[in-house]
């Protein structure tokens, strides 16, 4: 069994003695894991990250990050972690490389090593060409990549990513996730990530937790959560009338069959049953005129857990920062 690199026990954050932002959550993350932390706006994601990265005090409970108690040894935690905040904090007026070198200096990396590491990261994130340009000339995707590089300059053990793909177009977003996957698989960096894009969390994260109203509602492997929600639905439209519902029901892994006219709605425990179903249909002398397979998505899991109500709360009431963020991403 691998080492636990992040451990939270009954972690609670109460702001101003009354607002419970995080309400006694417990979880642990293994070294090398890519852990997705999901939840609607105002659920407590950013507050949790703030506690784990020493930016917010812990009201009660305990967090151990990279082997250090966050409350007792914040400076050791700061050395071990890299932070990529939701905001774009790279300095507009400075060049890309200068931003990286400044961050290296603040992590006390010797000059030569800093230059080398900066070049490596710039080439990994395909920013070499822009290294000598002021950040204000960057596109939204380039800014996000630079932000990632800044969080990585000191080779942290754990990387915290708060909505790293927010506001990016689909191509750039996929590219970003490819980088994150690379860092996790190739460099063995443990990644703690929050995101709104569930299909990405699904394809990328080893494990996820869904938080709402400061409480972790579920956590586990994405596949496990989806199958808990219910199986795959196969919809078949057949021609030439004979009822084969009974035949279908007898197939292993077919949970339920519903017939409406010529349309069969078949609930499957596992998709392994598909070939047998097709066989049954053809053996019965029937023809398939339409076929549709719906797998449960993480979106459905998410909506089932967090409900359908819209969340209007802005994250920290800091609308100015939000506006600037949107402006910079344009």
């Amino acid at each position: 069994m691998k080492n636990k690199i992040i451990e939270a026990e009954n972690l609670t954050k109460i702001y101003k003695k009354s607002v419970k932002a995080v309400d006694g959550i417990s979880f642990s993350i293994e070294e090398g894991e890519l852990f997705g932390f999901l939840g609607p706006n105002g659920a407590g994601k950013t507050t949790t990250i703030k506690m784990l990265t020493t930016l917010a005090t812990i009201t009660s409970g305990k967090a151990v990050v990279a082997g250090y108690d966050v409350a007792k040894n914040p400076s050791a935690v700061r050395k071990a972690i890299g932070m990529v905040p939701q905001e774009l904090t790279a300095d507009d007026e400075l060049k890309g490389l200068e931003n990286l070198l400044l961050s290296a200096k603040l992590h006390h990396i010797p000059n030569d090593a800093a230059h080398k590491k900066a070049q490596d990261l710039l080439s990994l994130l395909e920013l070499e060409g822009a290294a000598q340009r002021q950040v204000k000339t960057y596109s939204g995707g380039m800014r996000r990549r630079l932000q990632l590089a800044i969080g990585l300059i000191h080779e942290p053990k754990i990387l915290f990513l708060d909505e790293p793909t927010l506001g990016l177009d689909i191509q750039t977003r996929q590219k970003m996730w490819a980088y994150i996957r690379h860092l996790n698989r190739e460099n063995g960096i443990t990644v703690f990530i929050t995101t709104h894009y569930l299909e990405e969390a699904d394809s990328l994260c080893d494990r996820i937790a869904i938080i709402d109203s400061g409480i972790i509602k579920v956590s586990g492997y994405p596949s496990e959560l989806k199958s808990k929600l219910g199986g795959t639905i196969l919809t078949l439209q057949l021609t030439n009338g004979a009822d084969i519902s009974a035949n279908l029901r007898s197939i292993k892994d077919v949970d339920e069959v519903e017939k409406k006219g010529e349309t069969y709605r078949i609930k499957l425990g596992r998709t392994d049953a598909l070939p047998t179903i097709i066989e049954t249909v053809t053996n019965g002398g029937l023809k398939i005129s339409d076929i549709n397979l719906t797998k449960p998505t993480l979106d459905q899991v998410f909506l089932q857990i967090t409900g359908n109500t819209m969340r209007d709360s802005s994250s920290n009431g800091d609308s100015y920062g939000q506006r600037v963020l949107i402006e910079r991403l344009k």
Binding site: L88, L94, L102, D318
Partner: protein, 286 residues
């Protein structure tokens, strides 16, 4: 801690150098105060040459003019008197408004990225002070040059040398650093630019007007004079004037200067400590 402070200060100064227009507001302020406000008033011009039809003798007029000038610390004209005051005003305003960048750094999340890095809170605070200090002192030197270049502008006393010049800016340096620490710590404590501006207006103007920056203490009512006499702005302005108006200082003037400098050193130290304590509180985890 020292290298972190320098790295962060360097970041801000690099941005400043890349944007030369940033010194324009400070420079305009110096020019307007000195060239327009300073030129429009000269105490010796108030001295009449005749009183109710009776011509005064030129010798008497000169005597009155001399007396008038000595009220203004012996300055040859009002600009010579005013330069020290304008520099004091400029450094205070620059340190105060420099805090806007600090508030914006917080709003943009930049401050959080510093707070989650392994650097001391003292570095964050002192770099905030230091970056504005360098900018303010640069504009202060520019203001001095403007004053010298103006027609009928600043006239230094005979024997004014490099040491005098350095002395002037050591006095202002201490003043700038002290108030800088205070304003910077206030900026770290705030989340809105509006509140900072309100505090600046509340603090900066009384600080300058309750001192001998613009007018000599001799013209003040007793209550205001008592406050002005202990105001560090007065100490710095008077010290600078001593050094500007009198090239070579007498023993008495030297000891006045030494007393003022000591006062300013204590002032700067105390405000650095207070400022740091306020900032440390403001930079705590939320």
């Amino acid at each position: 801690m020292f290298s972190d402070t320098l790295a962060l200060t360097g970041r801000s100064l690099k941005k400043w150098i890349r944007n030369p227009a940033a010194i324009m507001p400070g420079l305009f302020m110096a020019v307007f105060w000195l060239a327009l406000f300073g030129s429009s008033f000269n105490p010796v011009n108030l001295v009449p040459t005749q009183i109710v039809g009776t011509q005064l003798s030129p010798a008497l007029v000169d005597q009155i003019k001399f007396a008038m000038s000595s009220v203004f610390g012996g300055a040859a004209n009002y600009i010579t008197f005013l330069t020290a005051g304008v520099i004091a005003f400029i450094v205070i305003i620059n340190m105060a408004y420099g805090g806007i960048d600090i508030v914006i750094d917080r709003q943009l999340g930049y401050l959080n990225s510093l707070l989650s890095a392994p650097i001391s809170r003292a570095s964050i605070f002192f770099s905030g002070t230091l970056q504005n200090f360098v900018k303010a002192m640069f504009i202060a030197v520019l203001a001095f040059i403007v004053a010298v270049l103006l027609p009928n502008g600043l006239r230094v006393g005979a024997g004014f040398g490099v040491l005098n010049f350095l002395g002037v800016f050591v006095a202002f340096g201490l003043l700038t650093f002290g108030f800088g620490c205070l304003f910077t710590s206030v900026a770290f404590s705030l989340r809105q630019v509006d509140s900072l501006v309100a505090i600046i207006n509340f603090l900066a103007f009384p600080l300058v007007f309750m001192s001998s920056a613009m007018f000599p203490l001799g013209t003040f009512p007793a209550w205001l004079k008592e406050i002005a006499e202990v105001n560090p702005v007065t100490k710095a302005s008077e010290t600078a004037r001593l050094l500007i108006v009198n090239g070579n200082l007498s023993a008495g003037q030297l000891s006045t200067m030494a007393g003022n400098m000591l006062y300013l050193v204590v002032f700067a130290t105390v405000l650095a400590v207070i400022g740091y304590l306020i900032a440390r509180r403001a930079l705590r985890a939320e």
